[in-house]
Each structure stands twice: as structure tokens, then as C-alpha cells.
């Protein structure tokens, strides 16, 4: 018959109240560079950057249609040679900074979404633009070592709500700027 056994930890306290933690808190993973994501979502296609900057009217239209905020007028959009678009966007939540890519078909349907870079942090650095800047557009780093670099987390994890909102915003962007 099973029984419960008390677990002892060093540090002994499981719940810490108030004091700042000495150990940096969070999770970080880089899955794909922009180039790798392009090859994954549009295999064999040539991608041409479109250099789109939104004007105020377009911004308002996108925000209104998607009920989200447009963080920057500059958009990272590429046109795919076989038709369709590849868009890179970032979402900044309270505890997360995520770079992701959306692939749209020629008719503006979502073909795929891939996370490029995922940063989860419970310290304050995520609110600092200069800290975030080091991750934007980064090429995937050193080769993944099977026994060292890969960490899995079990426990409270964040919802993908911000990325889902971002995909909604991308669809509104398509309707306002890319369609026809």
C-alpha cells in the first residue's frame, strides 16, 4: 500500500514570500531562425521582403478588426514565389516575449504558425526593450546538444493567448494591406 513521504529540499522553503530570488527565473528556447522557418513553411519557395510600413489608417483598421494593438508600424512580411505570405511578429506579455512566424496561403488563410523564439521570465528584464532586442531576428545558435540544452517543464505554463491574438492581427493585416 502506498504512503506519503515528506520531501526535504535544500533550500528548505518551498514557498518564498517577498524576497528577490537569487536564481534567474524563467525558460528560454530558440526553435527556428527566420530563414529556417521560411524553409519549413514555404519549402522550395523564394521569399521576397515587402518592406511594408503601415500608415495610421491601416493601423486603425487592423486594430479595429482584430481587437489587438499594433506595436510597430514596420511589418516583417515576405511574399512567397508560389503565392502566399510569410510574416514574422513578436508578442510581449507580462511574463513572455515570443517571436513567431505565420504563413498565409495565396487566399489569406493560415497555413501554419511556428514559434521562432520563446522567452519566459518572471524577473523584470522582459519589460526592458534593450534586453528583448538581443533576441529579435537572431539566427538559431549553436547546435542543440541532446544531453545538455534541452529542458522540459512540467507545471504552470502560460497560455498561447497572445500568439493567438497575433495570428488574428495578421489576418486583419492581410485584409487591410495584402489582399488583392
Amino acid at each position: 500500500m502506498l504512503t506519503w513521504k515528506t520531501q526535504l529540499f535544500a533550500p528548505a522553503a518551498v514557498v518564498v514570500s517577498g524576497a528577490a530570488l537569487a536564481v534567474p527565473a524563467g525558460y528560454a528556447a530558440t526553435y527556428l531562425s527566420v530563414e529556417q522557418a521560411q524553409r519549413t513553411l514555404f519549402p522550395g519557395a523564394a521569399l521576397t521582403p515587402l518592406g511594408i510600413t503601415l500608415n495610421a489608417e491601416q493601423r486603425r483598421a487592423i486594430e479595429g478588426a482584430s481587437d489587438t494593438r499594433v506595436r510597430s508600424a514596420e511589418q516583417k512580411i515576405w511574399r512567397a514565389s508560389g503565392g502566399g505570405w510569410f510574416i514574422v511578429d513578436e508578442v510581449l506579455g507580462k511574463h513572455e516575449f515570443i517571436t513567431y512566424a505565420v504563413a498565409l496561403s495565396a487566399t489569406g488563410a493560415v497555413k501554419g504558425v511556428e514559434i521562432l523564439d520563446y522567452r519566459e521570465s518572471y524577473g523584470y528584464e522582459i519589460r526592458r526593450p534593450e534586453w528583448r532586442q538581443q533576441f529579435v531576428g537572431k539566427t538559431a545558435g549553436a547546435p542543440l546538444k541532446l544531453d545538455q540544452d534541452i529542458k522540459n517543464i512540467s507545471g504552470a505554463t502560460l497560455s498561447c493567448r497572445h500568439v493567438a491574438e497575433g495570428v488574428r492581427r495578421t489576418l486583419a493585416l492581410y485584409a487591410a494591406v495584402l489582399k488583392g
Binding site: 500500500m1 504512503t3 513521504k5 529540499f9 524577473g123 534541452i150 512540467s154 507545471g155
Partner: protein, 322 residues
């Protein structure tokens, strides 16, 4: 440059293997797949197939999607039997078996109380009298299975099912099978903390502190089994009756929200089982404990006072010594 790593020394054939790691937003969280031990092409195709099975589970069992099979059940099954697909049937049958084994404590038909507390969107009109009296609303025992043509009927009009407790685990298990069927025999599928490792490797897993999500509570090595953790970290509210923090885990007969444990972690052969057992543990840790052995499962829990306990078979289950 693709992500590469050399194969572990054990293969001895000098064959270089690739490790692929991808994440997509699915099931309301991030689903992360790590796959290794095959060529990049094989891994890429296998990972795509695995994500497709997860997307399919989302299409069928998402509570938030009004067009899912689950939403169709919640809308129509009280009026007439609703046909379901094999996957949804399998999950509901599993839930029925565990509902019986747990004496009714594991019960996916608790959505109205969650809706009333604001944990779930209110697609359905919620009658406030019904949320006060959980018994009057009915429970999972009022879900009828018509096996001949795989249809489901609700015998009470107030029943609303939320499969969040098992659908994620089911999706993880299905993704592992998809990877294996595609020739990938080593890896991990992780859906927002519900994960399953498969193959001979021991994968490091960090269990998070329930009230401090960025802090590691415990690190274990998981080999060829599943782990799930249920905790209320991001969704705690204060229960006005007791003034204690509670999460969205509802006692099916009292209708009260559970507050004895802050989190429960289960290691089990499948992710669906691990996930479901965490829910039972949160409601009745001692009752669930006695079932763990039957299920080849083990548990680690954090109590409301911040102390931690593990089932006496926890270290055996993980193959560790102390």
C-alpha cells in the same frame, strides 16, 4: 544550418543524428516536440504529422471552439444522441472509467461551476440555481454511451462537459504514436507541462514551484513515461467562503473549489492517465494515492502550507535512488 547533434555513443555506427525541436500554439498553450535519432527529413515529416494529430484533437475537443465536437455535445446531447469520432469516444470512455474508479471525484461535467467563477467562457446559459446544487445538475454518471453507433446522450439538461483534464494528455499520447509511426523512436512531446518521453533517453524535466512559476522546485529525469502537473498558479482566485486561494478544480458533489494542494505532479505510462490523475489528487490526495499503484503511477504534491510530499513509489517510478 539545420539544428544538429551527434548521436549518442551507444549507436557505435558513427551515424550522425539530428535533434529537432519545434513549438506551435495549440490546445490553448504551447505544444513543444523534441525528436531525435533519425535524419532531418524523417524528423521534419514526423513532427509535422504529430502536430497534425494535436490540431485534430483541438478541433474535436476544444471547449472554447463553438464548432468542436465537444461544443456540439454540450449544445445538443441533452436533446438527442450525438455521434462522435473515435478519439472523442475514447476520451469519454476513459473519463467514465476513471469517474467510476474515483467514486465520482474525477468528473469532467463540472463546467457550470467553473463558468460561474469565471474560469471558462459562458457559451451556455448558466442557471445560477444549478451551480449552487451540483447534484441537481447531474454528473458524469448521467452521460450515456450508445456503443452501437458511437453516440452520446446526456440524461440531464444542465450537463456541460469540459475535457481539458484529459484531452491534452490524449493529444500528447497521439502525437507520440504519430512520431513512432513515422519512424521516430526517441523524443518528448510537451503540451503546456503535460509531457511524454519515449525511447531510451532520460530527459531532464523541471517541475515548477506552484506559486512561483519561474522557480524550479524539483528536477527529475524522465525515461519512457509521461508526466503531468496540475497547479493553479495563473488562475488562483480567493474563495470568499474560506478566504484561501483556490484554483479551477471543483469537487463534483459539494461544488466547492479544492484548496488542499497547490499542485500535483503524476508520473504514469500515458499522458492522458497522468493528467487525469492530477485532477483526482487535487480533490482527494489520499483517495487517489491508493489508486496510483494499480495505475502504475506515482505522485509528487505540494500542500497548501508549502511543504511537499511524494508517494512512496515515486523514486522507483523514476528509477532514482532517494
Amino acid at each position: 544550418m539545420p539544428l544538429c547533434s551527434k548521436a549518442e555513443a551507444g549507436s557505435g555506427r558513427g551515424q550522425s543524428a539530428t535533434t529537432l525541436r519545434r513549438a506551435r500554439p495549440l490546445l490553448g498553450t504551447f505544444v513543444e516536440i523534441t525528436a531525435t535519432g533519425a535524419s532531418e527529413n524523417v524528423l521534419g515529416a514526423a513532427v509535422d504529422a504529430a502536430f497534425a494529430t494535436v490540431a485534430e484533437v483541438q478541433r474535436r475537443m476544444s471547449f472554447h471552439d463553438p464548432d468542436s465536437t465537444l461544443s456540439r455535445l454540450n449544445r445538443d446531447a441533452a436533446a438527442q444522441p450525438v455521434p462522435v469520432d473515435e478519439g472523442t469516444w475514447e476520451v469519454l470512455r476513459f473519463a467514465a472509467d476513471l469517474h467510476k474508479a474515483s467514486g465520482g471525484l474525477f468528473d469532467p461535467s463540472v463546467a457550470p461551476t467553473l463558468q460561474a467563477h469565471g474560469f471558462l467562457p459562458a457559451h451556455e446559459r448558466v442557471n445560477s440555481k444549478e451551480t449552487e446544487s451540483a447534484r441537481a445538475r447531474g454528473d458524469f454518471g448521467d452521460v450515456e454511451f450508445l456503443a452501437a453507433d458511437r453516440r452520446i446522450r446526456f440524461h440531464r439538461p444542465g450537463i456541460v462537459l469540459d475535457l481539458g483534464g484529459v484531452a491534452k494528455g490524449f493529444a500528447v499520447d497521439g502525437a507520440v504514436v504519430a512520431l513512432q509511426n513515422a519512424g521516430v523512436l526517441r523524443g518528448v512531446v510537451n503540451a503546456g507541462g503535460d509531457l511524454r518521453a519515449f525511447g531510451p533517453d532520460a530527459w531532464p524535466v523541471e517541475i515548477r514551484a506552484p506559486l512561483e512559476p519561474g522557480r524550479r522546485l524539483l528536477e527529475v529525469a524522465l525515461r519512457d513515461r509521461a508526466m503531468a502537473t496540475s497547479a493553479s498558479t495563473f488562475s488562483l482566485v480567493r474563495d470568499p467562503a474560506t478566504d484561501r486561494p483556490v484554483g479551477p478544480f471543483v469537487h463534483p458533489t459539494s461544488g466547492r473549489l479544492a484548496d488542499e494542494l497547490l499542485s500535483a505532479t503524476v508520473v504514469a505510462p500515458s499522458a492522458m492517465l497522468a493528467d487525469a490523475l492530477t485532477k483526482w489528487l487535487l480533490l482527494a490526495p489520499d483517495a487517489a494515492l491508493s489508486y496510483l499503484e494499480t495505475a502504475s503511477a506515482a505522485a509528487f504534491v505540494v500542500l497548501a502550507d508549502g511543504t511537499a510530499q511524494c508517494s512512496s513509489n515515486w523514486h522507483d517510478a523514476l528509477g532514482t535512488s532517494s
